[in-house]
Symmetry: C2
Subunit: 312 residues, 2 copies
Amino acid sequence: MAEIRVFAPATIANIAIGFDILGLALEQPGDEIIARKTDKQSGLTIRKIYNDNNRLPIDPLKNTATVAGQAVLDALGESSMGIEFEIHKKMPIGSGIGSSAASAAAGAFAVNELLGSPFSKKELLPFAVKGEQSADGAFHADNVAPSLLGGIVLVKNDEKLFHIQLPIPENLYVSLICPSIEILTKNAREIIRPNVPLNKFIKQSFNLAGFISSLFLSDYELMKKCLVDHIIEPQRAYLIPHFKDIQETALKNNAIGCSISGAGPSIFAISNSKKNAETITDSMSKILSDAKIPSISLISKVNKEGVLKLSS
Amino acid sequence: MAEIRVFAPATIANIAIGFDILGLALEQPGDEIIARKTDKQSGLTIRKIYNDNNRLPIDPLKNTATVAGQAVLDALGESSMGIEFEIHKKMPIGSGIGSSAASAAAGAFAVNELLGSPFSKKELLPFAVKGEQSADGAFHADNVAPSLLGGIVLVKNDEKLFHIQLPIPENLYVSLICPSIEILTKNAREIIRPNVPLNKFIKQSFNLAGFISSLFLSDYELMKKCLVDHIIEPQRAYLIPHFKDIQETALKNNAIGCSISGAGPSIFAISNSKKNAETITDSMSKILSDAKIPSISLISKVNKEGVLKLSS
């Protein structure tokens, strides 16, 4: 195999109640990478990045896709192999839907596939995390793990990156709106206070335990009671124009829950039917369009597969 | 029905990773209350408390059993009815296994049964919580809910006391050791710092989410990874002599997890076979007997029924 095209999905990290430990994969959007073997050099290079408005580093030591891919090459001892990437960004950058993580997952996966899949997807996780880390410096796998593996993933941010895939209730839909303003994850992290008040910790613990239970029980009523973030959302909401109005309209339109996707500014809402998901997305979009803030909106089920090969 | 005898089980609150929101019921020990109608007075009185070394209030306005029972009477508008309790304490007081909560659950249940069960067990929860609150002032239902309802219970400490019963993995055994030293819940609460460091909050969130998942999956390996308290146990452990040694010996003897029961000083360990539970209990007891600290120890499965009628 001399050339391969892969897809890695966007993701929603935190899911309101699982800061740094929970994430889910979307069906769309997702980044695509074409990886091909080349004799021109050894190691990874980037031939071109499409659709990034020249905002992403072309330097392979700084781009999450190539850092992740190089980590795979290094682990396999393939120091003489040359691979070039064409990166097709198909999602907004810095929007809180795991753009850098998707590129990292795609980069690790593409190199692995090109070399005959010596690693399983699960085994690629540390390499993809290494790529993701090169973007914001923080070590958290709640975007990378679902982008790579699909599903709703619970992940521990330690060396072993222990993780499990949680059940996906039937008819779970995600409505997503990405306002065209940018928040850097790094900045959104810096504003989080270093301590959590004990009473909020207890309330959030209940919500987390109840949300996990709701996934196993496919119990949307329970999920609705629990999908409320008492800790992170109140600290970040002010960064997103009209957040409260958008959340309110989503909940009025039968959202099970609505909060900030990752570090924002994207906002997600969970619902339990396609019809509700459409109404919710429309109502959220309207608030931004009324305020003359451009945005992208979409509806997606949970992506169960994660990163995948499109063609070779 | 003029007289009834009821049983309410001891409970383990917190279960290491669910401070104030998780608890489980034991098969033994448990408090027993004999309740009988009387013409001597209206309202609740305590005829006698057995086995409390005169440490519990005989004043019906101060004892958790009668406060809970009176709340049931009041809710039913039965202001003229007279009921007297004989309270048989069958567990150590102030030991962290929900002594006051068991009496409260038994008191509410006994009155309800004596009046023909107008309330379901679930509906009795607010009355039992009112009784429990009279003991330590704090509003938390993580002992009362499992004592009343049985099982492993996730409970929200708000007005509605929303709760769900979680699955109980087969072969789950609890080893329990109660050192004969006393810690008042009120004091054990006061030493808890009012803030949780963010990084510990994230680690504990993973453990809680993983533990809840392990119950649904009957996955003891996952449970073992997650049954670790990064927040409360480190703050309370020093109150319990030899805690670290006891925990270490439990884990060495194949405990899935070991931590402080409620506010302590009792220590519980979870295991997945009766044989392991016995070995663990013996090893924990030995540390205290070597140190010449008297203790009670026992093995129990999870009590699925909660409070029950023994005879009438």
